[in-house]
């Protein structure tokens, strides 16, 4: 018995090493499971504040650019508003539920962002107090950005589109053929459009937009432009399509969040019909 204890004492460093590695691997696994509780992340108050201070400094230098983008977008919105505004001599029309707005929009600022890993996340400066909920879609004036993963009181963490575990339901705008967009962990300006069957004609330069099937994004938010089409080498029934992202992930500063207000209804409908909708 004494010798066993002696032996264990001699290899105590290795035992501690094994234990700590086990702990670290457990953390990796727990954090990456989609429903896993994210205890330690940057939606934590103290960490969030530190990140915000850093973002304050960094984003000061890109203020001009951000302002320009906002102005351009305001102009575009104004134009749409003018087109929609009813002339004063017309009758108001009661809209039916078909045209009822089922999306709500919010704005937030990106205070933490990464590009280098295969699981990249964004940290936003708003949280549950400001009405942010897990599952909301994130986009900016350039295109889709990601999806909210978890929220705390004043901060939120979102999957970036540059996260290999995020799939976004999308379609080719010209042909309405749908597939899923997923990043492969390589080039940060390109993603892959998966599950497009071989008979479909996809051309370079076609734009790829969100499909609206996934209850996260409304239909038609730009993801990118097709930059390469070839037959999938692993499974020749499908095309392998490369999409050049329209969003510049290295310069994210302000983003919009969108919530599908009819999500609960959709979700219960899916449950009823025993479908899984992995948004």
């Amino acid at each position: 018995m004494g010798r066993i204890l002696q032996f264990l004492y001699r290899v105590r460093a290795f035992l501690l090493f094994a234990f700590l590695e086990f702990l670290a691997i457990w953390m990796i696994v727990a954090n990456n499971s989609p429903q896993g509780a994210a205890f330690f992340n940057s939606s934590n108050e103290a960490v969030g504040n530190a990140l915000k201070k850093q973002a304050d400094v960094v984003q000061f230098f890109s203020l001009a650019e951000a302002n320009e983008a906002l102005t351009a977008e305001n102009a575009a919105l104004l134009k749409q508003l003018m087109a929609l505004q009813v002339a004063p001599d017309s009758m108001p029309l009661a809209l039916d539920s078909l045209l009822e707005a089922s999306y709500e929009f919010k704005g937030a600022r990106v205070i933490g962002n990464s590009l280098r890993f295969s699981q990249n996340y964004l940290t936003l400066n708003k949280g549950s107090k400001q009405g942010i909920k897990p599952g909301m879609g994130v986009f900016n004036s350039q295109g889709a950005v990601g999806r909210i993963k978890s929220v705390s009181e004043n901060r939120a963490v979102a999957f970036s589109l540059l996260n290999t575990s995020l799939l976004i339901s999308s379609k080719i705008k010209t042909s309405d053929v749908f597939g899923s967009v997923q990043w492969d962990g390589g080039n940060t300006s390109e993603v892959n459009l998966l599950y497009v069957p071989r008979h479909v004609k996809a051309n370079k330069g076609d734009s790829v937009v969100t499909s609206g099937f996934n209850a996260v994004f409304p239909e038609g938010i730009l993801i990118g432009v097709i930059s390469n089409v070839e037959v999938n080498k692993k499974d020749s029934n499908y095309l392998s399509i490369t999409v050049k992202l329209s969003t510049d992930f290295s310069k994210l500063s302000y983003v919009y969040l969108v919530e599908n207000t009819s999500f609960t209804e959709l979700d219960s409908l899916y449950k009823q019909s025993e479908l899984t909708n992995d948004y």
Binding site: L16, I28, V29, L51, S114, F117, N187, T188, S250
Partner: protein
Amino acid sequence: MTIKSLLPYAFLILILGLVQLLFLKNLALFGHAFGFLYLLGLLILPGNLKTIPLMLLAFSLGFVLDIFFQTIGMHTAAATCFAFFKPIWLKISSPTGGYDEAEEPSLSQIGLGRFVTYAFPLLFLYGVVFFIADQWGTGGFFMVLSKSFFSALFTLMLAILVQLLFFRRKRGI
């Protein structure tokens, strides 16, 4: 080894950690070479600091970085592994007979050649563990190796540069 003699190292690790968080966070040369400069703080800890406290230090350091980087567990796993092999490799890579436990394995103390042979394999090991954790199931093994190699090279260059610029005076430890 007293608490007081460890203070300069604690200060150095704090500074390097801040640099890592504020400047090296999103820096990756050609998308391949990442700078893990904070490891310099662990590298130059003297050889008579035992493995267990070193590992606990590396674990907590990695954990703090992970929280900020949204990479829970990845830096932690890699830094712990790094700390476990550091004393072993320091002993192996030192010339026989000329090994002084209390010596600080920094550039000015052990010279360029020995510093490179001491630091590079450890940094490479760190990279391998880190990128395997990062690319689990997605990237190929070749990608892991090339990223680890270039990251180790880049980190080594940064570490040498920092030591040349800021460590010129022999510190009274």
